[in-house]
Symmetry: C3
Subunit: 129 residues, 3 copies
């Protein structure tokens, strides 16, 4: 298991970490298997989506914020209840097949770290089995 | 593969099952790997989120109910169409790394069984690979 | 790793691929393990939900379209920003345990390919570990 850091720059943003994950996968002594990318936080998540047009990441962020606005009558009093809900909808991990040390992503797919309560310095755990 | 039971007490609620899953993981004869926790139901799900403040679980439940209300013009006539939609958004499984028989969860993370059509006696499947 | 094709027939629809996935799992030379079903697209996803009443699939589709309508002030200008958001909420993969070459799905569970920008000819990747 390896760990990487992700510095986020806004309260809510998606950050492409595909190249960082690929680098870790190439450094691990396994040729084929599955890669698990896991976010050990409760106000951040991870998803697979388009990287080519950065507007897709903004649309995902903004749509989640429209559906689950910050500060809208939640019980949890830390001001980030919305962040927790968003994290559960997006999910804490992604699973990707690995062949010949390559992530088997589709043409347009990238691995997107989803910050919902930043900016913060976050961790991501990566393993290949 | 092991199976545990979860008795839910309301139509919609999140129940922390982290300690139950940890106990199963310690009982399995594997030291390192990945743990899959799978819900074999279509009106329940599973997520990873905060356990420290129980209000977070209520906020997740209530936000999903606001977005996907019970009985709002669905086609499925069993009165639990909303439960099915919620189950697909939250997901049927979580994947967690295991090191030295410990679940590699973040400080605030717990495994939350999500009941969307209870109260019922539910099953959860657990494996370590 | 094996690949199957799914021909979708509408812009948005859920298509049950359980029997196709089962067939692949039976053809792979592994008796027990976990099956990963992965969608290498950014405007489609995959979920596990009821197959018995086809209305459940329509309710999932229609609820997502109500929450995330097509063409509602998105930045991404290809007309499918909603499809990308839906794909991230549903997720790009499902994980299912395998015992004696059987998918360990619950009684009502089926594997549903989720098309959000069709109709198209899509691919699905399947592996057992």
């Amino acid at each position: 298991m390896k760990q990487i850091s992700v510095q986020t720059t806004q309260r809510e943003c998606l950050i492409d970490i595909t190249s960082k994950v690929s680098e870790v996968v190439r450094s691990i002594d396994k040729t084929n298997g599955i890669c698990i990318v896991f976010v050990p936080h409760t106000t951040a998540g991870i998803t697979i989506n388009e990287n080519a047009d950065p507007d897709v990441k903004k649309d995902i962020r903004d749509t989640l914020s429209r559906l689950i606005p910050k500060g809208a009558n939640y019980r949890h009093l830390e001001g980030n209840a919305d962040s927790h809900v968003k994290a559960s909808l997006v999910g804490a991990s992604v699973t990707i097949m690995v062949e010949n040390k390559n992530l088997m992503l589709g043409t347009w797919q990238g691995i997107q770290f989803c910050e919902f309560d930043g900016p913060r310095n976050r961790s991501v755990l990566i393993s290949v089995f």
